[in-house]
């Protein structure tokens, strides 16, 4: 489609701040999902291709909980209670799926050539996606519209309640995860296994259990992202996992795969690149990129980063690339 309106847009401060908030919102979701990729990669040096589907299952689990607790009729205090229940339900389902998948499809391949687990993961991804498509007759489901509307204003920024909730809860989850990794016994075990599984096992760490924990923690984050996605964008379907999955992987790579703060930073960076970045490109003369080029931006970023700086733009030390 050729450009229509040559000087692109008369841009205001409000426009940019709105796009910034949009970028942050999307970025929060990418960041949450990216955590799962980055943790698994950090420990197993493996791209868990099915992580996007784990996210999708979380979304459906949350939907199930919300629907069971009354759907559109929920109001008042019950809104908070149900959302909490949905989050917990989603975390449980996602984590459970990831644990089972790890046991069946990944653990037997731990010493196989590097490509074997990747292909197995693609298989899992297809399996889960079509299982859900089959169960839902490939129809979209709509999250109940129960979240209170309205927005906060701070200077040029207008942030709706739901956006605030989404950004805040994803940040909270990330901090929670960071504390687990840095401060608990389990976190130490995870870091030890990531450093060197053989040594960790010599030091008495149960490597298998730790790896399952890594999958479970990452999946729980993806489950939360699934519910937040549902609450915010409202439409969910069996095939929804692929694109956010691959973009979250991009985010993880962007931030330096293997690094937890990196995944978070990468998520926000990608979210902003897709929104603010695209509009900035549109400010260039002769450039007029519609929304349809958004994914191209994300994929180009992925390709470029992997080629020129496979350690990520935020990683200060060159290590995790094997």
């Amino acid at each position: 489609m050729p450009p229509v309106d040559a000087p692109h847009l008369a841009l205001s401060v409000g426009f940019w701040s709105d796009q910034f908030v949009n970028g942050l919102t999307t970025g929060s979701l990418y960041a949450l999902i990216a955590l799962g990729y980055t943790m698994v990669y950090g420990v197993l040096k493996m791209i868990n291709f099915s992580h996007g589907e784990v996210f999708m299952l979380g979304s459906f689990a949350g939907y199930g909980v919300l629907a069971a607790m009354g759907g559109d009729d929920i109001s008042g205090v019950m809104v908070a209670v149900t959302i909490l229940a949905a989050l917990i339900g989603a975390m449980a389902v996602s984590a459970g799926t990831a644990a089972v998948v790890e046991r069946i499809a990944y653990r037997p391949l731990r010493n196989a050539p590097r490509l074997a687990p990747l292909i197995s993961a693609i298989g899992v991804s297809i399996f889960l996606q079509y299982l859900v498509l089959d169960q839902t007759d490939a129809r979209a489901k709509f999250y109940p519209d129960i979240f209170p509307r309205g927005d906060f204003s701070a200077g040029p920024f207008d942030i709706t309640y739901i956006q605030t909730f989404l950004i805040a809860s994803s940040l909270a989850m990330m901090v929670f995860l960071y504390v687990i990794i840095q401060r608990t016994r389990m976190g130490r075990a995870i870091r030890a296994v990531a450093e060197n599984p053989a040594n960790a096992s010599l030091m008495g760490v149960d490597v298998n259990r730790t790896i399952v924990m890594v999958f479970v923690l990452g999946a729980a984050m993806a489950g939360v992202a699934g519910v937040l996605h549902g609450l915010f964008f409202q439409t969910i379907r069996g095939s929804m996992g692929f694109l956010p999955g691959i973009k979250a992987f991009t985010a993880a790579v962007l931030g330096g795969i293997g690094s937890i703060p990196g995944a978070v930073a990468g998520g926000y960076a990608l979210g902003l690149a897709e929104t603010v970045g695209r509009e900035l490109l549109n400010e260039l003369p002769g450039v007029d990129l519609g929304n349809q080029w958004r994914d191209v931006i994300a994929f180009s970023l992925l390709v470029t980063i992997l080629i020129f700086r496979p350690t990520g733009i935020f990683a200060e030390r060159a290590s995790s690339r094997a």
């Binding site: 080629i307 020129f308 030390r317 060159a318 290590s319």
Partner: protein, 300 residues
């Protein structure tokens, strides 16, 4: 290829702030068998990795005869005559013995493939340079097409080259004592044979400088003695300079004409075996606090 002289000037290698090699200089004249010894973690294998382009040295220069070679890609170094074996045997496990050797003679099987010699030492912006190197693309593409056409069409010249390579490979296998085992998968060979196969593969590249990383590791005294004989024979027969890392002092003293001693990434001594044995710093490094540990480990 005639034996090559190696000159190392102020070589240094740092990993994330950790210094593995610092200011190492040495001269190995053509045709010498040179030993490289030192306690575990002294930087011997790192030194080899720098020499073969696995690592890019962070300081210093490497010269092979009259050419500066540090920072060149591995395959170019190989083409220039640097070949090696590995401490923890790295054969192509799922290929047969003769195929392993044939890979070694890769660039000597004639179809195209001369471009390796013109490769430049890359700077910091390697990825960018790869994009810019497109100027040479038409020639490279043409060479590629020639090579592919040769492989598919298999004209007499290519057949001849292959047959020659096969014959050479057989000779090499015979020379290291693997005659009759051409078709065995590398991973099915006994340990000693695997070591010898690595040597044959390294020789197939027609090296001017052969780097042997603990060639007798894990061998019994008889096998070790045979390896010593083999190393001497190789030097004489194939006209190559040999640098070897070795832990068994009997081997080192028996075969090496000169020895360099590394400790904590620095050169602490150099000289003939007799000189080195008398050097106090060497004795200290070996018999000092870590001597007990060394003995306990055996040869790693």
């Amino acid at each position: 290829m005639a034996a090559g002289a190696l000159s190392v000037r102020g070589l240094g290698m740092q990993f994330e702030g950790l210094s593995a090699l610092a200011d190492v200089s040495m001269e190995v004249p053509a045709g010498e068998i040179h030993g490289l010894i030192g306690p575990n973690g002294a930087g011997k294998t790192t030194f080899f990795n720098c020499l073969t382009g696995f690592y890019r040295p962070t300081a210093g220069e490497l010269w092979l005869d009259a050419q500066r070679v540090d920072g060149l890609p591995t395959h170019v170094l190989s083409a220039l005559g640097v070949s090696r074996t590995f401490q923890n045997i790295r054969l192509f496990a799922n290929m047969t013995a003769i195929e392993n050797v044939l890979v070694g003679s890769h660039i000597h099987i004639g179809v195209g493939g001369t471009d390796v010699l013109t490769a430049r030492r890359p700077s910091k912006y390697a990825a960018l340079e790869r994009m810019l190197s497109l100027r040479g693309a038409p020639r490279a593409a043409l060479q590629g097409v020639v090579e592919l056409a040769g492989a598919v069409g298999r004209p007499p010249a290519v057949r001849r080259a292959e047959m020659e390579a096969v014959n050479t490979a057989r000779t090499l296998l015979g020379a290291v004592g693997l005659a009759g085992k051409e078709n065995a998968l590398a991973r099915n060979l006994p340990y000693g044979d695997q070591r010898r196969l690595e040597v044959a593969r390294a020789l197939a590249t027609r090296p001017g400088l052969l780097l042997l990383d603990e060639p007798t590791a894990g061998m019994n005294p008889q096998e070790s003695a045979a390896m010593v004989g083999l190393i001497r024979r190789i030097r004489d027969q194939f006209e190559t300079t040999v640098v070897l890392i070795e832990h068994q002092m009997r081997v080192v003293m028996g075969v090496c004409e000169r020895i360099t001693v590394l400790d904590y990434g620095r050169k602490i001594a150099e000289g003939t075996p007799a000189e080195v044995q008398r050097d106090t710093r060497v004795i200290e490094a070996y018999l000092g606090t870590r001597a007990v540990k060394e003995a306990g480990d055996g040869s790693p």
